[in-house]
């Protein structure tokens, strides 16, 4: 009987060792998981491919951008929101493909992201956020004038 007990104990230890180390944080690679979103030409199609739904326009998510961008190669955009969002994505209609970047927001993070994007021509820029838990989609959009060739337009 002693031997049987011994083996039972070993089995339990081995089982615990297999189950325990599964809590490591792993990054989500959106380029691998959602390839169709990166190939879409229009913002609307890209949003559908990435989030699987249509967002409602809301002032709870906002972004700052210049009204007139002199250099289309580098347009500073600051995304801000006080909502508890899970994913934030930036789309534009100016380039051959609509999706610019996707942020995965960690739990308890401050949403205050500053990025620079490229745009070929005047077009709408859309920012979409997905709320954690409820899965609701919020969006805002703005038109940005791009004057290629410089001289301030």
């Amino acid at each position: 009987m002693d031997r049987r007990k011994f083996f039972k104990g070993v089995g339990l230890v081995a089982f615990a060792a297999i189950v325990a180390p599964t809590t490591s944080l792993k990054a989500v690679d959106f380029r691998a998981t959602k390839p169709e979103a990166w190939a879409a030409e229009k913002s609307v199609d890209a949003i559908k491919a990435l989030f699987g739904g249509t967002p409602t326009e809301s002032d709870k998510i906002s972004f700052k951008a210049p009204k007139l961008a002199e250099n289309g190669g580098s347009i500073p955009i600051t995304i801000k929101s006080k909502l508890d969002l899970e994913t934030v994505a930036l789309f534009q209609d100016a380039n051959p493909r609509a999706l610019s970047c996707v942020f995965t927001v960690p739990v308890d993070a401050i949403i205050d992201y500053d990025v620079r994007i490229k745009m070929r021509q005047t077009a709408f820029v859309t920012v979409v956020g997905k709320e954690r838990g409820t899965g609701k989609l919020y969006s805002t959009k703005k038109e940005i004038d791009v004057s290629i060739g410089g001289c301030g337009g």
Binding site: V28, D29, F30, R31, Q92, P96, R97, P106, A109
Partner: protein, 100 residues
């Protein structure tokens, strides 16, 4: 893809991070026009003490030498922030910086 410049500063419990990576950020169309191979960063991940604090997937329509700024509540003075950058060919570089 090569160098990375990172600045991280902690003030009143909030860590402000600025990071710049050298990359052409040329997508297929632009690469054809200028006659170079397509090269762009596809993912940037930042971790402090093993915890992911910032994560972004990008396309080639970000500006050349992308500059990223963000704030986070985690991180203390002296801790290290580690950036992992992956480009379109699957090449990865890591860069470390102490938080001031």
């Amino acid at each position: 893809m090569g160098k990375a410049k990172i600045k991280a500063k902690n003030k009143k419990g909030i860590t402000k991070v600025k990071a710049m990576f050298t990359s052409l950020m040329a997508d297929t169309e632009q690469a054809k026009k200028t006659g170079v191979e397509p090269s762009y960063i596809r993912q940037v991940v930042a971790t402090i003490d093993g915890k992911v604090v910032y994560e972004v997937s990008m396309s080639g329509f970000m500006s050349e030498n992308p500059l990223l700024k963000f704030k986070t509540k985690s991180g203390k003075k002296g801790e290290k922030i580690v950036f992992t950058v992956t480009d379109n060919n699957g090449k990865t570089i890591t860069a470390k910086k102490k938080i001031k």
